[in-house]
């Protein structure tokens, strides 16, 4: 009898624990608000002072593919981390849909000479930590941007010693040398402002997990490995967002992000598989927001390694590559053939004549170079696109008598080999953060230690000249010349201009495609 009672009690305990697991998860973590309803359902409310009816939503749920290591804006390169950061941080100026600069934290700005930018700041702006946004914060932020290895390509020009605050609401930004892309950089998600007081007290790591900005939402909770919770900032200086809070979930599997979007679990999903694009575009409750990105892919050739230091060999590889077929097979409509080393939206883009696919010419060039039995070691990491490119190239180059030896490593090893100059040939891309050659031609400066290693001072001269030229026409001419020069040298073979896309529920409006793939989430409206 005693044992029977014990058995019953054990069973009761077992079921209680099982039930407890569920209820505990619910009460401790909390279901992302709005997730129980299809993302399209929302309440309507008319805001004061607006003639049109504004639709608001309790909670915006966004799915990104990885958890940010930090939300400190100058401490990482993780594009998925910049998406939630648009909710909390703001820059001095912003660019509107027509490409014009508009005020944000700055109300006025003007270059007094080539190396001096005077900026007048908006008054009455507060950080999420309660402190006022002042010129000291701007000077401090610019100093961090200049020093960080992640942002120095855009802000390395800043002369931090002579950049000063002139009162609480005016900043004199001094440059070490003229830099034409400065306004573009300041208007980008890389140029956001942080709170000096909090950064100094919390440190870089602490700030990265506090994410104190001046934006309309503030970070409320960071659930490790799962999600970020944002709530509206009551003291925000501008118009509040059309949603009262936001949840950014980390869903690693691309298929799971698509399913969450389709089943109404999330309102927005990023980094989707291109094979899912059509399904999302044609979904009854979903839409695909897509366009041409600023991403250019290319075959990188190590120009310092024999036999690739011979221009004829590089030219032979170019002739042996049928770029049209390669792009069609690998991307299946998610990219177009690259006819330049920068995407068409970048200043200085020039459509170059495409090198025809000519196997015989490739063989001739190799013979002329005295190279027989060329075996190309193609370095790649575990990436479906890169591996598909390698497979197609193996067949194409094989026709020209060039063997392809695929060396697949993990990403960390690949990066280390690339930086050590060990890679021979590889498939790479540059995703420009701003539509400017400074960001689009990031692999070309001589200071870069990747495996390209062209060691060509002419390129560096063009880059320096172009980045310091304020006159638009003259600047375009410089970069056009540089593109022609690239076309003659065969240092790399441009392959594709990738398209970008993200999925959204049909109720979302006012969110165009951003070529940087980092859309400003605060502008989202609902219908």
């Amino acid at each position: 009898m005693k044992k029977t009672v014990s058995l019953i009690l054990a069973l009761v305990l077992m079921f209680t624990l099982f039930a407890g697991c569920g209820s505990q998860g619910q009460s401790e973590q909390g279901e992302p608000a709005g997730q129980t309803q299809p993302a399209g359902e929302s309440e309507q409310s008319e805001q004061k002072g607006e003639t049109a009816q504004t639709v608001t939503k309790d909670n915006l749920v966004v799915a990104v593919s990885s958890e940010p290591g930090s939300l400190a804006p100058y401490s990482h390169n993780n594009q998925q981390a910049f998406i939630p950061a648009t909710l909390v941080y703001e820059s001095l100026i912003v660019k509107d849909d027509n490409g014009e600069y508009q005020p944000c934290l700055a109300t006025e700005w003007s270059f007094t000479d080539d190396v001096t930018l005077e900026v007048t700041l908006r008054e009455g702006v507060k950080f999420h930590d309660g402190t006022d946004f002042t010129a000291e914060d701007v000077v401090y932020s610019l100093g961090l941007m200049q020093a960080s290895s992640f942002t120095s390509n855009l802000f390395g020009c800043i002369d931090t010693e002579n950049t000063v605050a002139d009162g609480d609401y005016k900043v004199i930004i001094k440059l070490q040398y003229p830099f034409a892309a400065l306004l573009e950089a300041l208007a980008s998600y890389r140029g956001v402002m942080i709170s000096k007081d909090s950064y100094e007290s919390l440190g870089e790591e602490g700030y990265g997990h506090a994410a104190i900005g001046t934006g309309p939402l503030m970070l409320d909770e960071w659930v490790s490995g799962d999600r970020l919770e944002f709530v509206q900032f009551d003291d925000y200086w501008g118009e509040p967002t059309a949603f009262h809070s936001a949840t950014v979930r980390f869903i690693t599997e691309a298929a799971s992000r698509t399913i969450e979007l389709e089943t109404g679990g999330v309102d927005l999903a990023f980094d989707l598989q291109t094979t899912d694009w059509d399904r999302i575009a044609n979904g009854s409750d979903t839409q695909l927001i897509s366009g041409d990105s600023q991403k250019t892919t290319f075959l990188m050739i190590n120009c310092s390694k024999a036999p690739y230091d011979n221009e004829l060999v590089r030219k032979a590889l170019a002739y042996a590559t049928d770029v049209d077929s390669l792009v069609n097979v690998v991307y299946q409509g998610a990219a177009s053939v690259a006819d330049c080393w920068m995407a068409p939206s970048i200043i200085g883009y020039k459509s170059e004549e495409q090198i025809p696919y000519d196997v015989e010419k490739a063989k001739e060039l190799l013979a002329e170079a005295g190279v027989t039995d060329l075996t190309v070691k193609f370095g790649s990491y575990e990436n479906a696109t890169n591996l598909a490119v390698a497979e197609v190239l193996e067949s194409m180059w094989g026709a020209a008598g060039i063997k392809l030896e695929l060396a697949v490593t993990d990403l960390a090893t690949y990066t280390a080999d690339n930086n050590a100059g060990e890679l021979e040939v590889s498939y790479m891309n540059t995703a420009a953060t701003i539509p400017d050659p400074t960001a689009a031609l990031l692999v070309w400066p001589l200071s870069r230690t990747i495996s390209l290693r062209h060691n060509d001072q002419t390129i560096q001269d063009y880059l320096d000249k172009g980045s310091q030229e304020y006159d638009s026409e003259a600047r375009v001419a410089i970069y056009n010349e540089l593109m022609d020069y690239f076309n003659e040298k065969y240092y790399t073979i441009p392959i594709a201009f990738e398209k970008g896309a993200f999925g959204a529920s049909k109720s979302i409006t006012n969110l165009p495609y951003y070529p940087s793939n980092v859309p400003d989430l605060t502008r989202i409206q609902f219908e």
């Binding site: 077992m14 992640f150 690693t252 599997e253 799971s256 089943t263 960390a412 990066t415 930086n419 870069r448």
Partner: protein, 326 residues
């Protein structure tokens, strides 16, 4: 009994030391530069070298290993290269989720597997037996990530009954638990069946029936209790497997567990998190083995009596020595 526990705990020390040495060595000889990963592609060689020095990455192998052990003894598992957070905190954020999922999986597996196994054994060669054995075979054979995807397609996308990912309430647990525990359910069912079949043919069961005991008492009191030892072993092993083996399903269901943390850390060459995670898992495995041994003693009086007998024997030997005249 207490001496047995202390002895087992002491044995854990060389085991854990071995684990730290093996994992540290593996990470040491793995390609990839953490300093480069932390600073990004644009970092200059000087910046990278400076950070390598700061992180002690240029120190000799044994210096780094001893430093690691020294920190470990002080309860410091290091700092994550990616987030800058203490590794112990990162692990403690994730471990409860993995433990909770594993615990739910084992409760589900036990609650389904043992009754199914008993039923199969009692009704041997019946339709029920054949059905449960076929299902068990399917459960063992199906990769759990495939099952997870199928369950999501049917119950989330198709029927819209259950959420496809996340872990925010009871209904969110159903698909992960069912998919992860499928093979555990199958294994427990098969083990229960074979163990019960062995026991119900024993003489003492015939005796119990001859005494006029009801069938329920015979099955649950006499047969099941005696068949429990191998089942407990399997449950323990399955629990350990579930704790460390849910990585793929954690990815599919976006569960913020320890497995996902470690896979991300391996990809990012985040050595401290990998080392810390493996150490914590090894520690849990050791504790789990000890607990299983203790449960044996609790369930089976024969094993319990072995511990007590050893103690009594030692006591008797001591008493005998004391009685020897000087």
């Amino acid at each position: 009994m207490s001496k047995f526990i202390i002895k087992r705990i002491l044995v854990m020390i060389p085991v854990l030391l071995g684990v730290t040495f093996v994992i540290f060595t593996m990470m040491y000889f793995t390609d990839g530069n953490p300093a480069q990963l932390i600073l990004g592609d644009m970092a200059t060689e000087e910046q990278i070298h400076e950070l390598e020095e700061e992180m002690g990455l240029n120190d000799p192998f044994f210096t780094r290993y001893l430093n690691y052990l020294s920190d470990l003894l002080h309860g410091d598992l290091g700092t994550s290269y990616v987030t800058g957070q203490p590794v112990a905190k990162e692990i403690m954020d994730r471990l409860p989720v993995t433990v909770r999922i594993s615990f739910c999986c084992m409760i589900f597996a036990v609650a389904v597997g043992i009754p199914a196994g008993i039923l199969s054994a009692v009704k041997q060669y019946s339709i029920l037996d054949n059905l449960s054995m076929v299902l068990a075979l399917v459960g063992i054979s199906l990769p759990n990530f495939w099952l997870a995807l199928m369950l999501v397609l049917v119950f989330s996308v198709g029927l819209g009954l259950l959420p496809p990912s996340g872990l925010y309430g009871f209904k969110y647990y159903i698909l992960p638990v069912v998919s992860i525990s499928a093979s555990a359910v199958a294994t427990i069912t098969r083990m229960t069946r074979s163990s019960m079949l062995e026991v119900i043919r024993a003489d003492y069961i015939r005796t119990a029936r001859a005494k006029g005991q009801s069938e329920n008492v015979v099955i649950f009191r006499h047969a099941l209790l005696n068949a429990l030892i191998p089942i407990i072993t399997v449950v323990g092993l399955q629990f350990a497997t579930t704790l460390s083996g849910t990585v793929v399903n954690e990815q599919i269901f976006a569960i913020p567990g320890l497995g996902k943390l470690m896979v991300d850390a391996i990809k990012a060459r985040n050595y401290p998190v990998v080392q810390g995670g493996v150490f914590v898992l090894a520690f849990i495995f050791s504790i789990l083995n000890l607990v299983i041994d203790l449960i044996y003693a609790f369930v089976d009086p024969r094993i319990r009596s072995q511990y007590v007998r050893k103690k009594n024997k030692r006591q008797a030997e001591t008493d005998n020595r004391k009685e020897v005249p000087a």
